[in-house]
Symmetry: C2
Subunit: 382 residues, 2 copies
């Protein structure tokens, strides 16, 4: 097992009717900016619950943060928050709203051009306190310090972490998920599954507890997936899904293990260039990553096949079955997992590979996912 | 799944050579009291590593905290810390030293007689900041806010929690465990196993993630047990054991689930009356708890048999096998799991049952472990 440091100070407030508890968690006298997205919270009652809970508090609203939150939108929020003297941010939404709010929180404490800390995340060190009311289980952003921000004018989608960027608290009320469109539920399942794989499917470091916990999350998602596609208004099923999505990216399964994230980096390009949903890009890329990096990931592929999918046979058969079952699982949820199904061809592959070459990126847990292998992975998924 | 609130702010610093990092974690200018036990840290080099790391800092030492830390000893530490103006506590030891240090930290901020908050733990609300260097994986005290304290003159052993009692950081260097006596390793395995069962073997609340994670800890302990009994100086095995013991009682497997703890409460009595090691009492009581509460715990007993032990057969056969395998596992580690093997008889049972009656205690996840059932459980383990 590798040496590690772990600390996650976010307070989780989980369950039915918990939105009512937010006021007592936010310091009296705080000037709050409530951030949200396209307005679904007005239709599903969450907006009313939050404003009811914050009655009598000083609140500024900033709506309209889009999926794959855009730099151009967020800098307007920063300007507005500065003008209003905001000193506490409350993100009400899914991963995009929360990620965008982490950007706002960081930018408010950053003197220069905020794009600086996107290009050099080591510059992101301070943040205005933030908290979240989660409406969409998927990214895990409600209990970590990372965020992914897009900038349209450059076709860029980049990630940063801020040590001060953990939400102070996050409210997870599973009932708010009942009204989500099925597409977002499916995206959340695939996203959580891929997050777990990025921290699990690497090389063996004898991290027995982390392996078991990652496998537990994968098993839970496999068990829940078909049920949630059928309907997502049964409390315990939605609650377990919501908790799984949070646990898949809050550091709890990352202690002492190597991490991959190459699939995410490739996926971000597909979103930046073609506007595909983040989770769709992961469902496309992951089976290709497994196939092309089969030798490097072989031991873990076999373990994953055995323990998560209950596959028997020779190690080679197990590794092959692991790849096929992963693709089949994503497809069973209704995902189109081939580039051609999205009208994407060789031109895009060439563009991405060229961009990675220019950036000098060699990705993955051992830096072996070179631009040439990225080309191979994407060709495999045509 | 039940509603819950989760927050664990302790920073884990895990791995080889990490004791050297403690100085940067403790505020400059702090007046530190370093607490420890019977002196094993002087023999195994930990004392030297800690004092080397704290060179140039103001440090007062308080050694001699005994296993099952005693009120009489701890009040002396409180007196000393007050006299010296101590404002930071560093516990270097196992669960007893850490628990004792939580008592000291709480007492230093408590105006009245400290036994007050042992009898009414709701009075424990403030604490001097504390941190730990763990030398013995077992109790999980390094990453939670609970402590168990004994008072000889009353033959009492009581628990309390303090919301401010989480260590600010805990250093876990697996190499410090190499010199532990085998008995303490075995105790740690059983203790961690029992902690996990207390949060898992209750009634089904559809907490899928928590079930998987608890099962993962149990599987890890079952896999590691025989290896660690053979020898405990192989890094990865000891590291996984150390991490498992911490994860077994830091709230990570307690989200949204009912908890039992009746076995612990009965076990504390056996320690208070006969001086048995804490883990030995758990190994004695748990199989009896499973047998007597078999109906109430039936669904989880069956799941535990299937998933953790890989048992097949009818549900009744699985439940029976679960009980037998648990007892056999403890015995395979060298534990004596019968009261008679420790020279304990009916008189002790009568005393404990009478005491629980006087306290009005009905224990367990549903309050169904009445004094009469405690009698039944202990008779079962004669």
């Amino acid at each position: 097992m590798n040496n590690f440091t772990f600390c996650n100070p976010t307070k989780l407030i989980f369950g039915k009717g918990t939105i009512a508890k937010i006021a007592r968690e936010i310091p009296a006298g705080a000037k709050i900016m409530m951030t949200y997205g396209g307005g679904s919270i007005r239709r599903n009652g969450v907006y009313d619950q939050v404003t009811e809970a914050l009655k009598g508090r000083e609140v500024v609203e900033f709506g309209g943060i889009e999926p794959n939150p855009q730099y151009e939108t967020l800098v307007k929020a920063v300007e507005r928050a500065r003008a209003e003297g905001v000193d506490y941010l409350l993100a009400v939404g899914g991963g995009s709203v929360i990620d965008g709010t982490k950007f706002i929180a960081t930018a408010l404490k950053y003197a220069g051009d905020p794009w600086d800390f996107m290009l050099d995340p080591s510059k992101a060190v301070e943040a205005v306190p933030l908290a979240t009311v989660l409406t969409l289980p998927a990214t895990g952003s409600e209990m970590n310090n990372g965020a992914v921000i897009s900038r349209r004018e450059f076709d860029e989608k980049l990630a940063f972490h801020n040590p001060q960027g953990y939400p102070q608290f996050s409210v997870l009320d599973p009932e708010v998920c009942y009204s989500l469109p099925e597409r977002q539920i499916v995206n959340g399942i695939v996203d959580s599954f891929a997050h777990t794989l990025e921290q699990y499917l690497t090389f063996d470091t004898q991290a027995m507890v982390m392996d078991r916990w990652a496998e537990g999350l994968l098993q839970t998602l496999i068990e829940l997936g078909p049920k949630l596609v059928e309907r997502h208004d049964r409390y315990d099923e939605v609650a377990n899904f919501m908790l799984t999505a949070t646990m898949a990216l809050n550091g709890f399964i990352a202690m002492g293990v190597p991490q991959d994230w190459a699939t995410h980096m490739i996926g971000h390009e597909l979103t930046a260039l073609h506007g595909l949903d983040h989770a769709v890009t992961l469902a496309i890329v992951y089976p290709g990553m497994m196939r092309v990096m089969r030798r490097e990931k072989f031991d873990k592929l076999v373990q994953y096949a055995e323990r998560v999918w209950g596959v028997t046979g020779t190690p080679e058969e197990k590794a092959e079955a692991a790849i096929e079952k992963t693709d089949a699982f994503f497809r069973s949820l209704g995902m189109k997992t081939r580039l051609s199904e999205h009208g994407i061809g060789q031109e895009t592959i060439d563009f991405i590979v060229d961009r990675f070459r220019k950036r000098g990126w060699n990705l993955g847990e051992t830096g072996q996912v070179t631009p040439e292998r990225v080309a191979e992975i994407l060709r495999e998924r045509m």
